[in-house]
């Protein structure tokens, strides 16, 4: 637990990717089994079960600490797990016995394995015993692990990248088997240590790493031969993988999370044997609905009949990884696509169709189509080399996404926050707004789109025009206009302005433009995404 807690502590305060990787690699190299395996599980996926509730933890601490002192401390610290980890009576105090002082602090493996065989009623006593035996930073790690909400800024991908470096193997090899492995990953570590061959996994319904596209720069086009590429629409849904075999099916998000329960009309009806790659959409009366409609369905454990009727899910497929157990990934795209077209026709499902190819002869044909993309409610175009095998990750060259031109608005800089890591001496996170009547209302936040030189200028402007400070945030006078580019705009009840921007970034700094001429809220409202009127041209 000690080493794991130290690792978490370092990760939480480390901003740079390479430094995080170094911390992870050092940990995997030094921690024993099965400790490091459970740590990997906690970092990559978190624990699904909430073994401890806030009420349970509060009750435990109030048995040990003066309630007034606890209340004052909690008010000051603001986080329950942290307050408890700090205020818990230290080893050597009256409530912690001599025997415990002499005893070993529990390891992560002991914690996980004990919880697995302990009933709910015994958990408070168990937790109290562990807290007695740990130091504050390990108590914090334990509480966050058991209560959920451990945010250390490490993605599963980053943890696996560190593993690959530690073991000296290709990341793809870990990704390929990852979803067939289970904690504490003894077989994986045995392989990475060089003590055993790669683990054997059951791959029937396993998530396979996806092939991702790189953004296309217009300048790249001239170097590409049009006849080597196939074009498809880039649908504005979420990328999914459907794995079905033996009457069972699993629907995975891009990161390998299983989301089938939220979409029973698909996961419960896939009675074939294949692994398909496609876009999850809401399609009603043959019309693809805006992304916001899909959001109504995401993340639900149970779906009502009403939701199924109001927002019916649809799978629009564009690739096939396996058919009847046969791995198609090494085949060229054209061959996979032909197999997929035949497969979709045979399957004959109302919720399943093939994403059509967009025919073109020259790049200019596609440029014209791309101009229509916004009206059609889709995100742009995909270009895929016809001879490309299906490769894990984001290889450079075979696949491109060619997004429609972004929307833009002239907004007023309102607040600036200091950045992290290399940017910690710069005000680099900007909140901006537009006019609503005589006031400025915030509409979004951006921290990219400018050059380093522009960042210096922005930083200086912020320092020179500060009117108020709140910790790391400065409020500035309303005098600088930022041209903000964004992919789309949606209604939102969570924001004061009633709007939510997707992917905002700063496209230009309008040093020349007076704040009074920045956009008004009404102008932005006219840009809100509407459903596609008709399917795009085929």
């Amino acid at each position: 637990m000690r080493a794991f807690a130290d690792l978490l502590e370092r990760l939480v305060f480390t901003a740079s990717r390479s430094a995080k990787l170094r911390h992870l690699e050092r940990y995997f190299a030094s921690a024993p089994d099965p400790e490091r395996g459970w740590a990997l599980a906690a970092l990559a996926d978190g624990f699904e079960t909430r073994y401890a509730t806030p009420a349970m933890v509060r009750a435990l601490v109030e048995e040990r600490v003066d309630p007034t002192l606890f209340r004052l401390s909690y008010d000051y610290v603001g986080d329950l797990a942290e307050t408890v980890s700090l205020i818990w009576p230290a080893v050597g105090s009256a409530t912690v016995t001599e025997a415990k002082q002499a005893g070993e602090a529990p390891g992560l493996a002991e914690v996980v394995e004990t919880l697995a065989r302990t009933g709910r009623a015994e958990r408070p006593a168990l937790l109290a015993d562990w807290l007695d035996r740990l130091d504050p930073s390990a108590r914090f790690a334990l509480l966050k692990l058991l209560m959920g909400g451990m945010r250390v800024g490490v993605s599963a991908r980053l943890a696996k990248t560190a593993l690959a470096r530690f073991g000296g193997v290709e990341l793809d090899r870990i990704e390929e088997i990852w979803f067939g492995l289970t904690p504490p990953y003894a077989d994986l570590f045995a392989w990475l240590d060089g003590r055993a061959p790669p683990p054997q996994v059951d791959g029937r319904l396993m998530f396979r790493p996806m092939m991702l596209a790189n953004p296309l720069e217009e300048a790249d086009l001239e170097a590409l031969a049009p006849d080597a590429f196939a074009a498809e629409w880039k649908w504005d849904g979420i990328r999914v993988q459907l794995a079905a075999a033996d009457g069972e099916a699993k629907l995975y998000s891009r990161t390998g999370d299983e989301i089938g329960a939220s979409f029973p009309e698909i996961a419960g009806a896939a009675d074939f044997h294949a692994v398909l790659d496609g876009e999850l959409l809401i399609v009603r009366d043959d019309v693809v609905r805006p992304f916001n409609d899909l959001q109504q369905r995401l993340g639900r454990k149970r779906v009502t009949r009403k939701q199924l009727a109001a927002h019916p899910a649809h799978l629009r497929v564009y690739d096939m990884l396996f058919e009847a157990g046969e791995d198609l990934r090494a085949l060229p795209l054209d061959a996979r696509r032909a197999r997929l077209a035949a497969f979709v026709a045979r399957a004959n499902k109302s919720w399943l169709d093939l994403s059509p190819e967009v025919p073109f002869a020259a790049w200019d044909d596609l440029r014209a189509h791309r101009g229509d993309a916004r009206d059609a409610g889709i995100e742009g175009l995909m270009l895929k080399r016809r001879d490309s095998p299906y490769l894990a990750g984001r290889p450079k060259g075979p696949w491109f996404k060619w997004k429609r031109d972004p929307l833009s608005a002239d907004c007023i800089l309102m607040y600036a926050q200091r950045g992290h890591g290399k940017r910690s001496s710069f005000y680099s996170d900007f909140t901006f707004g537009v006019w609503r009547g005589e006031e400025v209302t915030p509409v979004g936040k951006a921290y990219s789109g400018f050059t380093d030189a522009e960042l210096r200028q922005l930083d200086k402007w912020v320092r020179d025009h500060t009117v108020d400070r709140f910790g790391p945030v400065r409020a500035v006078s309303f005098g600088l206009v930022l041209e903000v580019a964004f992919d789309s705009l949606h209604r939102s009840t969570r924001h004061k302005s009633g709007l939510a921007m997707r992917f905002p970034r700063i496209s230009r700094i309008r040093w020349d433009k007076p704040a009074a001429e920045a956009d008004r809220l009404e102008a932005l409202e006219r840009l809100i995404e509407r459903p596609a009127a008709a399917p795009p041209a085929e």
Binding site: R10, V12, F13, T14, A15, S16, A19, R22, H23, R26, V65, D66, T68, L69, L72, S73, Y76, V77, G78, D79, E82, T83, L86, I87, A90, D135, P136, R418, H420, G421, K422, S424, S425, G471, P472
Partner: protein, 347 residues
């Protein structure tokens, strides 16, 4: 301690607009606006301010004030060693070590048989750069409460120094920018690093130099120190550069190549505060007493009455009352958190 025969200390030691005031002696203790006569407990800028008339302090504190304020430090200064008694009118004043920074003292005031100890800022753990706190039995003990909440328990110094050395070992290609209060914390850190076996030069931000020189002149050896101003900032891989906390987020820090930022402060105990400072390596190291030290000190001193000055008074007063002390909060203005970006940290 016999029953107090004279007037109640509340009648002769009061909080006035200028700070804590001793009426029969007509002097202030750590006044926060210029006073004709001042007793100064230690050299931090929120306790020792310029422009006073007559100043009574220890030799270390006077040296610090002189170094910082030059001729503006006072009109007349009087030095008193620990344990030496000076009469100011009818009041006997002496100093006892406070263990906070070089020269830091508790002011012990005796009047009509009653003894009041104004502790100033203090800590109880070992500090290789100053004399350890000495509990003085008294009728009224006036204590600070900077870390007066039971969530503040500073870990052993050696653990924090070990964290720093581990980071240095993990990232040998990065310079470590270590933010620390320029008076006291910086020199203590240097000594702790020396004790941990670091004998390489330690680099200094310009704001650190004068006080490090002063510590050395006062007999605290700090080993090889190099001003960073003259060094090639691109060639400081693996070196430790000490700077005031505010310099970490200042334009000053931009010249270094991929620096690892660290900060030593008692506030680093609370993640949210550490994250607000945007540092990669928070070190929990304070020159103030933590909760356990504060509460143990009340017992060690054994004064029946406890007055709590700046900090999180409410919790300490609550605790002291529960332990049977007659405790109350004294609201003193003008005291800063230990790593506030005050003048201490100007470049």
């Amino acid at each position: 301690m016999p029953a107090t025969p004279g007037p109640d200390p509340e009648s002769w030691l009061t909080v006035e607009a200028g700070g804590l005031y001793c009426r029969p002696g007509d002097f202030y203790i750590d006044p926060h606006r210029p006073a004709d006569r001042a007793v100064v407990t230690h050299g931090h800028a929120d306790h020792a301010r310029p422009g006073n008339g007559a100043v009574l302090a220890t030799e270390g504190t006077l040296a610090i004030m002189r170094a910082r304020y030059g001729d503006a430090a006072w009109r007349a200064a009087q030095c008193a060693g620990y344990g030496e008694t000076v009469r100011i009118g009818p009041v006997a004043v002496s100093f006892a070590p406070a263990g906070h920074v070089l020269g830091s003292a508790q002011a012990v005031l005796e009047y009509h048989g009653a003894r009041v100890v104004v502790s100033g800022d203090y800590k109880r753990r070992r500090d290789p750069t100053c004399t350890a706190f000495d509990p003085v039995p008294c009728d009224v003990f006036i204590t600070e409460a900077t870390f007066g909440l039971p969530v503040f328990r500073h870990p052993p110094d050696a653990e924090e120094v070990a964290k720093l050395l581990a980071a240095q070992e993990a990232f040998p290609e990065r310079p470590i920018l270590l933010g620390a209060y320029a008076l006291g914390k910086a020199q203590r850190l240097i000594r702790l690093l020396r004790e941990a076996g670091v004998d390489r030069p330690i680099y200094l931000h310009g704001a650190m130099q004068a006080l490090c020189d002063l510590y050395e002149a006062q007999g605290v050896p700090l080993g090889p120190l190099v001003p960073v101003a003259g060094a090639d900032r691109k060639r400081l891989a693996g070196e430790i550069v000490l700077c005031p906390p505010s310099a970490l987020a200042d334009r000053w820090s931009r010249g270094f190549k991929d620096p690892l930022t660290a900060m030593a402060s008692g506030w680093m105990r609370v993640r949210q505060r550490a994250r607000q400072r945007n540092v990669e390596l928070p070190l929990i190291l304070s020159d103030h007493a933590d909760w356990d030290e504060l509460t143990a000190t009340l017992e060690d001193v054994g004064a029946p009455r406890v007055w709590v000055t700046h900090g999180r008074e409410e919790a300490l007063v609550h605790h002291a009352r529960a332990r049977g002390f007659d405790a109350k909060a004294l609201s003193l203005v003008g005291r800063e958190d230990e790593d506030a970006d005050g003048e201490e940290s100007a470049p």
